[in-house]
Symmetry: C4
Amino acid sequence: MFEALKREAWAANQLLPQYGLISLTFGNASVVDRDRGVVAIKPSGVAYADLQPEDMVLVDLDGRAVGHGSLRPSSDTPTHVCLYRAFPLVRAVVHTHSRAATAFAQAEMAIPCLGTTHADYFRGEIPVTEPLLPAQIDGDYEWETGNAIVARFASLDPSERPGVLVARHGPFAWGPDGARAAESAFAMELLAEMALATLRLRPDSSPMPSTLMERHFSRKHGGTAYYGQGPRA
Amino acid sequence: MFEALKREAWAANQLLPQYGLISLTFGNASVVDRDRGVVAIKPSGVAYADLQPEDMVLVDLDGRAVGHGSLRPSSDTPTHVCLYRAFPLVRAVVHTHSRAATAFAQAEMAIPCLGTTHADYFRGEIPVTEPLLPAQIDGDYEWETGNAIVARFASLDPSERPGVLVARHGPFAWGPDGARAAESAFAMELLAEMALATLRLRPDSSPMPSTLMERHFSRKHGGTAYYGQGPRA
Amino acid sequence: MFEALKREAWAANQLLPQYGLISLTFGNASVVDRDRGVVAIKPSGVAYADLQPEDMVLVDLDGRAVGHGSLRPSSDTPTHVCLYRAFPLVRAVVHTHSRAATAFAQAEMAIPCLGTTHADYFRGEIPVTEPLLPAQIDGDYEWETGNAIVARFASLDPSERPGVLVARHGPFAWGPDGARAAESAFAMELLAEMALATLRLRPDSSPMPSTLMERHFSRKHGGTAYYGQGPRA
Amino acid sequence: MFEALKREAWAANQLLPQYGLISLTFGNASVVDRDRGVVAIKPSGVAYADLQPEDMVLVDLDGRAVGHGSLRPSSDTPTHVCLYRAFPLVRAVVHTHSRAATAFAQAEMAIPCLGTTHADYFRGEIPVTEPLLPAQIDGDYEWETGNAIVARFASLDPSERPGVLVARHGPFAWGPDGARAAESAFAMELLAEMALATLRLRPDSSPMPSTLMERHFSRKHGGTAYYGQGPRA
């Protein structure tokens, strides 16, 4: 039961060190089965190299354990669940502490949309959340982290911006499946590195022209896309 | 038919991840057969690890498909074709989103000629194109990208500067064969990294003296070259 | 005799190049047997790849050789011994010249606590020692280096900050066993890299809010920890 | 004949890509046989992976070919020869275009002595040469490069500073054998990287105190050294 779900979540977790996004045991990926309301997520504090598909922990959309798992789920599980509840088209969530994206999060700065590499993945800047209030930090902290992300997307479309920076923390990314959520997390790090270098060359860089941004985003996304070999399975 | 052409294009594409210039499916390389007017180019959005020589897509110098290929060519194909039509000595074109060169492109800054490593490859700065107009972006965008490169080289010699930065986008490089076009793309990234660090140490760096630049360029290029073991095949 | 101790010290030394913290023969790790008052430490100037567990050198807590070792202990041995004497809960010490942490040490700047990655390991900034006086440098230099660390921790808890920067030199880290001391050294380098990038984006970055710092530190450390799969062996 | 000399030169050349100091075919290493006045040096423009010990080219201390080599020596051969003639204790010379050291050379800035990692290798800053005059560039350019290095060391000891930055070009390093010349080249890159990061954190960094510098240099070098396992063969 839930074997395919666990395998997809495990494969997404394996992509994170392959993409160079992970140090030590930081980070986690999950995938949701929308029909059955079950999420498979990385266990807390386990080394990636040791993970097996059957180690993935199952929780429901209230964050409660499903079945008799012997491992504790990631401490960030409530954040994942919160995003699944708020973003109905999201099927996978990834969290990393990748270096350049985390630097933007620590600086509480959005990653500006400076070129076509960015526009191939994000329609506009990669936003940063508002800081949590002390009461939110002392309360249900990980759930409130999810709420801060959802609040930031009140007027944004999570399908057009598959990721966010949590202030003082790091990046969360998502997508329609585990592989694409991991790819979004990788793109966030790549875009953060390029933005760091661009801002070093030209500290007052303005965002790219919107015509060019729209052209590139629509080249890869939506009904008029003409990049790639047609729709992915 | 065109087997050698496809193999050379495939080999040039394989060099891009080997040189560390590629993330995800970004980038593409092509090679032209001048006698028959046919270009072999990477298919769009295919992972480099999965590419086989026979996957290379054939197009003519109007960008129209040649033969019965089952794959779609790179979305940047019109840019490649435009360069082949304007630069008669170019036999191979490479496009990447390599990080440091892309940062210069995003900052819309040429890479200044700061030292002999640069002069070994480029006779002067690596230029950056003018931004496209909205009508060009909304029109035949990839063809107009090629036009912007050609316009930038109105008074420059593409044999003396085997690459360019497309504003807000990234580097294009070229050469007399696939391997040397890929080498030019690698050199652009190396020079961009060194220039970033040099400008950090000395933000007002002036270009290197022209006598030294000319000496190094001519050490490796043209009739008076004395670097290496003689002309390459 | 002391075979397990030598093996743990050897394994900690092996982690340093695996974590990418080591260039050439720089750096060293040691582990103490508190009951018997014996320290196993890397021999001086030996390449990591050539090290065998039996090469670890034994010294007592006065820094004197134990047994008939044929190799000379690390020249930093007196620093390690000084820390073991002053910090009773520390069982392993690691010293590296990792690049970003050494840059902070060379700048004589503490690594500020800028985000949750930092707070997962250190409760507050990573401190930097006061410079040694000429008489200390010309005297028992390596012992005085240890004294400078101990002086810096007069009002700090080494269990809450498992590392320090020695001014103009580089990082020392520690922990309850060899693996965790090496992990602290790795965390110091990671935090230094992220801080470097954060300070580049926002030179006047303030430390993270203390509520958030305390939440993250206590999520992983102490009686209320809920990260991971329970206490480690 | 000269088989051991060729093998030592070949091994030093192989260390350069292993140390990550080489891009493409840049760089070269040589070793001299003082008794017979013969230098073995890398052939010009050959890929490191293809090099065999027998490919090393032999020249005398006037830079003239020795024996019937089929390959052309490195175009930088006159610089190597010039250094061997001026620095009698030097037995091996290495030239690279390693990135951070080249950035300092391009900025025409010495690498300041900022911490103990530096003092373990260089007694004071790593100097940069004066720019060549146009007549020197147009004349015997590579020989004049050697002269500029020698002039810079008029009041410096090449045994205490085993390397130099050639202005607008890159680093040259040396040592008493091929392995230690390559190690000096690696140290120059490491020190340049650390200095870049230190100067980013504190642009007005002063050099380290001379007492500390002298202590560290003499810990590893000269009659009072106590680092390592005793004198190397």
